[in-house]
């Protein structure tokens, strides 16, 4: 229990540091938002009122603490572009990105493990070698390029979906999922290829271990050795990798949302950066970074839980 408490402590500290760093980064940007927003309407009184509304008073540490207190209670500040609370600007978008990411992550899971096991099982066969080469290429294809190819093939040629015509949840659950399927697949393909590759090398590494020889000496075939002995060992690093890749997938969706015109926080982030709407950008950056930190923490705990050597000692 002590280690979990310690890890949770580190988690909170890292979250604090990450938020501080992100906050600081957006503070060094030159220019005064108040002056910019008010433009020709500028009067000292109005400026003071607006400054108060935007939470821009006081020195940097005071602003950070005020922002942090707001952040943890769901008050993310006011968007410069919309002059609305950031929470309202993001409304619904977070769920879209979450759905996209989880769907994509499930696809990675679905493809990578059977593929990795098959590649390791038939590693000397012609077919597996060809598949390994194709896998190598898939690892190198950026998700947004796959997205563009999908838009062309499934959207324009086969007309399985209408590119740019996102179906909201509220309208149709399955329609929404159907639209998100292609961007999710675009993000998943290179990630699944990498995961499969990791699993293959993990299995190959385990095959060199002494316990594998013992397993053979009992009369196991190669496939039985892989299935009953090696796989559970080889999956340990893969589980960690998969847990951490959810954060990568969210980051990947920033770009893929753009390709498929999916109204998620990724598109909002890009738009807010282009429009220099920093409260929105900061909020999204911190949410994603916090997710990364949290997933690393979760990966750590999951490994602890499934590895009896750590769990029981």
């Amino acid at each position: 229990m002590g280690t979990i408490a310690k890890k949770t402590g580190t988690l909170l500290l890292t979250l604090l540091l990450v938020s501080a760093m992100a906050f600081l980064a957006f503070q060094v940007i030159p220019g005064d938002p108040v002056t910019k927003i008010l433009g020709t309407d500028y009067t000292p009184e109005r400026a003071a009122t607006l400054r108060h509304e935007l939470g821009l008073e006081g020195d940097i540490s005071a602003r950070y603490l005020r922002w942090l207190a707001g952040f943890v209670t769901g008050d993310f500040g006011i968007s410069y572009s919309y002059m609305k609370p950031v929470g309202q600007v993001m409304e619904g978008k977070l769920a879209v990105t979450a759905a996209l990411s989880v769907l994509s992550w499930l696809l990675v899971l679905l493809f990578s493990i059977p593929l990795g096991v098959a590649l390791a099982r038939y590693h000397k066969g012609v077919f597996a070698r060809a598949a390994a080469t194709v896998n190598q290429v898939f690892m190198a294809v950026p998700p947004f390029f796959i997205g563009i190819l999908f838009t062309y093939l499934f959207g324009l040629v086969l007309k399985w979906f209408v590119p740019g015509k996102f179906v909201p949840f509220s309208q149709s659950f399955w329609g929404c999922l159907g639209y998100l399927f292609f961007p999710a697949l675009a993000i998943a393909i290179p990630k699944a290829a990498k995961t499969a590759r990791l699993l293959v090398s993990s299995i190959m590494g385990e095959m060199q271990k002494d316990y594998v020889r013992t397993a053979y000496s009992r009369g196991n075939s190669r496939w039985m050795v892989i299935r009953t002995h090696v796989l559970r060992n080889a999956l340990l690093p893969v589980v960690t990798y998969l847990a951490m890749s959810l954060a990568d997938i969210v980051a990947g969706s920033i770009i893929v949302e753009q390709v498929f015109v999916v109204p998620g926080i990724g598109r909002l982030l890009v738009a807010s950066i282009a429009a220099r709407d920093f409260p929105v950008a900061l909020t999204i950056v911190v949410i994603i970074a916090a997710l990364v930190v949290f997933m690393n923490y979760a990966a750590d705990l999951v490994t602890q839980f499934i590895d009896p050597r750590v769990r029981l000692s």
Binding site: A22, M139, V141, T151, V292
Partner: protein, 267 residues
Amino acid sequence: MIDTHNKTFRAGAVITGVMLAIILVGLVWTPYDPNAMNGAAKMASPSFAHLLGTDNFGRDIFSRVVQGAGATFLIAAVSVAAGLVIGVVLGGLTGWYGGWVDELLMRLNDTLTAFPSILLALVLIAIFGSGKYNIIFALGLLFVPTFARIVRMEVAKQKELDYVRSAQLMGVGSMRILFVHILPNIVPVLLSTIAISFNNAVLAEASMSYLGVGVQPPDPSLGRMLNEAQSYLLSAPWYALSSGGAIVLLVLGFGLLSEGLGGETDA
């Protein structure tokens, strides 16, 4: 020291070599002027006259891809080189001297890894603005911790070895030991990291330019071309295929090189 005879490494070397050769030739000669518009040959499909066809302004796509790949390559190479130099010096010094500066930098490092590279690059672009040089700056900054961490770890390890100890006893100066004696021993480890970082740089640059917050017109870039190409997918699919294909080849080549060097392939 480095096994360069395995198939993976050779495949990577061939792909990278061919890409590099085309890029180098492209610096002095391309079949057409990449920016020359030709109203008579808009959206022409690939032919002998235009290997990869033409775009919406009748510009030769092959020439544009060569130029774009060159620009992307240059941005990636310069930013990795910048990150490498600063990272090596920083990591070397902190690994050698240790102390609170070391502690502080490593804490900072751990925190930075919480931001996916594309996110960090976007933040830096938000702060410093878009454009070619800012991209190089942002990516360079991104790679400093990566290299610093590896060099620091290796230096701390090598510091304890006999050859370093004997050099110290013979009165060789710290800086000389660090950069003349230790550094060459770290090169093999660094090489595969350089290849991965290069790939990260290519992908980050392409992504940001695709999003419109990276390289700005009139500077060429594969990512920006993909963005343009997306509008003409139905009439000129070869435009997107060629510019995306060039990115894939660049990344694939370096990915194979890295794996051949015994490193990881993950971006």
